[in-house]
Symmetry: C4
């Protein structure tokens, strides 16, 4: 049988400090890819303003990605708050999940550079979709391997498995639209937020205690 | 109702380790933007000295930004020491606050490159102003959602709300001066330090126990 | 006599948070070395697809290295879970081990850039080999200095010392093959995984409790 | 009076996790400044070997700096193990100390690029000297503000204040020699290690318990 580490063990804490360190770095590295522009007259306000204006897609994609990764961190924080213990399998699955978090700064930089190119949107959407899918894998494993502090009812469990990948659906739906207009694709991404709130209202009894 | 995590929970600790990791990275990345200069005669002392001299604005902005972010970290450390618990809202607000901490290396690099350009100062001042404003938002939420270990008296609370954004005022005031002289603008920033000490002397009774 | 820090001390925890921070950074930095490609027509899908295709070796080496470092992190996590205490010597040895973890992003970037060049494979294999060898050094010291919570039997100990460097053997064996085909060398690396499982089946009694 | 945070408080832990995060990043960033070389025939072993050979100063300075910062981390780890509590002043002083740790990757990269240039050695030596001097400042403050768990005798205290800056002396002495030969200067740096051991033998009674 696999080793289990309870909530108060050094081993449980290590997974989280490694995890949160990786999140913090991925979020901070996003800014590194934005290079300071080179201008000919270094004291010219208008020239610097123009140069910075050219970087606006980079700034937008920094804040979008910070929000996206931040949202995943919040979801991970909430998920771990439900765990009573971790086993080797969930630590391994978590590493796979982190690989795609660590990779995200590249699609972000790509999006900042080629915001008008549908391929940038597609790659970003696929990366984010994989992360959301892995969230479901983590939750399923925690449920099946009995790692949750309070076993949810089957109703609540089904709700969690359906509600969690909602953003994936939106990212997938956005892909064909990216070929018409990249801005439209981004608008569709943000559509997942109100739907999330709507879903929460239809949550079965007991779900609130788990995900509230 | 929103979930609450008490001071001794794994969840409270995670927010802080994520937070401190992000601060540590933002402060360390400041140096990465300073590129090693290229010189023609690699063993010439005078040539290397000249090349490094050209980077002096970069060195100054590294140490200014390290001091600025360090000061925010100290304030955050003090703020958290007053908290008995965290709720979901304060964790979310803290992420917004961290987005602007994570962004700061860019204005810092800009300032290092274009120290004489008023626009660099303005962008830096606006970024720092937003961070200070978010500090007040965090403190207000903690007060209203009853997260503080010792509820301050209304007098002390009002003092905290006024004293905390003092640096914002100075950064805002410095903006028009930046167009006259960038050095003058920087001098005005440092003016906030003695005023902070003066304000502390006029603090109502009980404030010392909270902010001392 | 050297100082000892028990499992529940601040000092034991610090070594781990430093350690895990370094691992998290090394794994996240892997993506930084992948530069966003420059294309002439920024909205052309086919041009961007071609440019990204040229980066496929970089993507492959990112995920290989993430898996390799992740595997070392898992092994380190398991190793520390066996420790009852740390002494100064193991903290020092751990730093030497971390130096080669921190260095790994360079061979990774080299491999991504020169995947067809046998020398990239050799350098990568040597780096990984040193890390595996240092794992054995750490385990031996922990055994001899009585740092393990449960002293393994000599049989189990010998098994641990032999099983742990298995990947080293594979990396060493792969080196000459790298000069014939770099892809072949990579295939040999992955050969260590099934052998690891086979070895585990031949483990002496009691080893499962330690390494399972 | 200033706030005090005892060893088991969240606040004590935060200073350390911030501190160790910064150390880990500074040590890992050292490798980022080493760029993968560009060669004309990407599959040529000899060309890649030549290109890597040109980077040997960068590799040497990576491992020297990793050892140097690692040694400071070990000293900091030992120092904190003596503390019963922290006050605001020591947290502030620690930030000043960290500023120079965070800056070290720049002199390291400079040394890697211009190993033959005496000015690189001087800048590196000055940076390292400042860090060692700040170690003494931290130790003095801890002694005077009564933060140490076991107050050392005046003899032991004086020994600590003298022994700790020994490396500073060596770095200062090495500066003029750097103008004759940079290799000689590096050899002098390493001279501090045996002297440190000699000093330890002459330590007054009770020092071993503190620094052993």
């Amino acid at each position: 049988m696999s080793r289990r580490y309870s909530r108060d063990s050094v081993e449980f804490a290590r997974v989280l400090s490694f995890n949160d360190g990786l999140f913090a770095i991925a979020m901070t590295l996003l800014v590194v890819s934005i290079a300071v522009p080179t201008i000919s007259d270094s004291s010219s306000i208008s020239e610097l303003a123009d140069a910075l204006n050219d970087l606006s897609a980079n700034f937008i994609s920094f804040f979008i990605s910070f929000a996206v990764i931040g949202r995943y961190w919040l979801a991970h924080h909430l998920f771990v708050s439900l765990l009573a213990a971790m086993d080797q399998a969930i630590i391994g699955l978590n590493l796979v999940y982190l690989a795609f978090i660590a990779f995200l700064p590249f699609p972000t930089a790509l999006l900042g550079e080629y915001f008008e190119n549908p391929l940038s949107i597609v790659i970003y959407a696929v990366n984010v979709g994989i992360i959301s899918a892995l969230e479901v894998v983590l939750f399923r494993h925690a449920y099946r391997a009995d790692l949750l502090a309070q076993k949810p009812t089957p109703d609540v469990y089904r709700f969690g498995v359906i509600a969690s990948p909602t953003p994936v659906a939106f990212f997938v739906i956005s892909i064909p639209f990216a070929f018409i207009s990249t801005t439209l694709a981004v608008v569709i991404w943000f559509g997942s937020a109100p739907l999330g709130i709507m879903l929460q209202r239809r949550a079965p009894e007991g779900a609130e205690k788990l995900f509230g």
